[in-house]
Amino acid sequence: MNSSGASEREGAALVELSRREFLAATAGLAAAWGLSRDLLGSALAEPAQPAEVPSTLLQTIRQRTVGTGQYRTLAASPGETYIPRYDLLGRAADSARATRRRSLVYLGHMSDIHIIDSQSPARLEPLQQLSPTLWQGACRPQDALTVHVQAQMVEAMAAARYSPLTGEPMAAMFNTGDSADMHSDNELRWYIDIMDGRTVTPNSGEPGRYEGPQAWAEADYAYHPDDPSGDRFGPYGFPAIPGMLTAAVSQPVESPGMPVPWYAVYGNHDALYYGTVPIDAGLRALALGERKPVTPEALGPNYLAGWAQDSSVLGRLQHSLSTQFGQQFGWQAGWQTVTPDPGRELYQQQQFMAAHLATAENPGPIGHGFTQQNLDTGQTYWSADVGANLRLFGLDTCNQVMGADGAVPQEQFDWLKRELGSTQDAGKLAIVISHHNSKTLENGAVAAFAPEGGLVHTEEFVQGLLEHPNVIAWCNGHTHINTITAHPRSDGDGGFWEITTASCIDFPQQQQVLEIVDNTDGTISIFTTVLDHASAASWREGDLSQRGLASLSRELAGNDWVADPLLRLGSPLDRNCELLLPAPFDMAKITDTALAKETAAHKARLAAYEFGGQP
């Protein structure tokens, strides 16, 4: 066994193919991907070895203990090895399992990318001053750097395309929502383009010039990188970084693109304004206009101020009424003029799916889980097979009426249970993916005239998954905190793992890869490996390159005290782990030969990614 716990056996998968099968597979895949047969043959013949992947197995990133004021820069720290978790097994595992195990599938998991068009008039940053806790995401110091972070995270995911545990090729990646922070066309397009390997200049309005609160002195609730001495970040110790904003909006951001097919689901930010409230005509007009609110005075008369300041139902109603009848306007105070941009249009909920259908065929799949049928019917959830042994279920847990947290509509839950049943009958493993997690599935908001059916919340939802032994994991996001939770069956016979990945916006800006292995002793393990984005642990002063801005974003996020940054790392039991559970069926039904054929197909895709092949 090597340092990351891999076995000799894992490299032997392709040995399971006969010479004739190997040659046939090579010829077929070479033709399919436009690769030379010799080149692909060499790639396929290469035995799987744990890949030297830049991951938190090798290096973590932590705050320095000494800083300027309360501000702390970041530095590299030792890596973290896998910690086994036995919650669902209920006993210690056979220590010899590492010499026997075989990889079933290797996956990427991204979540909460939160691409932000920070210059949009519809980004109402002053909300944060009204209520920092309720609207903590309204204005972060790193708002202008989200595309840079996503691109570097895609690079990290691409660097991890071969497993750090076994060296097996990645089969797919799924993204569990909150991709476009403010529901704008720009944000949606930028996020998809970065995933697909296109170049994006993350700017709207006037080319090469940042127009937003981080440049306006009166917005003292915002961090002003050119000179923070007059805002509340300066006294905290945030540094002056002249030119940061200009660099952020003027330099093209390049992305290597995801090396594997990627899937997506709705997050609350993809369904509601600020992930919380419905979008109306006024907001749509505001987004396309040339007036942007700078101070809370600008928000005073509208209903958002009411919601932010007053938690009572009557209070909120009163604010809405006062706005409705125009009793307190004051429109001239607290606004700035910006350059309008049609790309800031706030999209309709359905357009989120449509945008995923308007993407590159490679890495694909077109729709990224959504299909034309989803568009035609309005159904916002889907299922997709990743190889022959795993089915993904992409849910829409967003409450489309109101609220950041989620729930599962009864109709969708009924569909899920039916589909899980047939998946179990087919002898496939199942992973459920959604935006919301078990701590945030209690949203009870319903439209007054909604059809009957109701909403399913955590207890019923978890119980529903537990009824299907082939559900091994529920992967999600939303809280921006690395979290792993065991959901045991009441009879002590296994259960499933809930894996919540952090985010690209708040510290620690981490995502992860997962590998499911058969321990060939009646147990399986899910290995979770946390990834930092591909940028320096310590930001080098003056580095305003793409990579430098991503590094800086992580440092700024680590000091954004409103966001509880240090908590979001989770504990070691939430990061690099081996999550054991009883195998849900006889894993011997999945033959080595079948696995070898799947591995060959995944390797061919990656070879095409590396050498420029096209299907």
């Binding site: 705050q63 702390r72 978790r85 609207w135 109306d280 306007f329 209690e442 908590l567």
Partner: protein
């Protein structure tokens, strides 16, 4: 396009429509922030303590709030009980016990900060 008071009326009016279209008893609960909460803080800090102390864990402590305090229960590989208590809705301190032996008593925030710094 210029933002006008008339648009503001539309903004507020649509908000009113959205408000009135919802079941009043449920909408306030729906407006929750996405941020770290106290139970997460206790859970993470407790795990940080257990790992730093080298405790071999079979069942990771699960924390619940009740009767004015957080109580977390887990189990070691050798079958000993793990118990964490933290008083109040927004606790500042916690007590971590393994097999009735105190492992840590002190600040939650200090544990989280130490774990995130080198």
């Amino acid at each position: 396009m210029t933002f006008t008071p008339a648009m503001g009326v539309v903004l507020g009016g649509a908000g009113l429509l959205a408000l009135s279209a919802c079941a009043v008893t449920t909408q306030v609960d729906a407006l929750q922030p996405v941020a770290g909460d106290a139970v997460t803080g206790v859970t993470v800090a407790a795990a940080d303590v257990l790992i730093s102390q080298g405790v071999a864990i079979k069942v990771v402590p699960v924390c619940r709030f009740g009767s004015g305090r957080y109580v977390c229960s887990g189990e070691t590989m050798s079958g000993d009980k793990i118990r964490i208590t933290a008083e109040g809705e927004d606790p500042q301190t916690m007590r971590v016990m393994v097999a009735d032996e105190p492992v840590y008593t002190g600040s939650i925030d200090e544990v989280l900060t130490r774990a995130a710094r080198r």
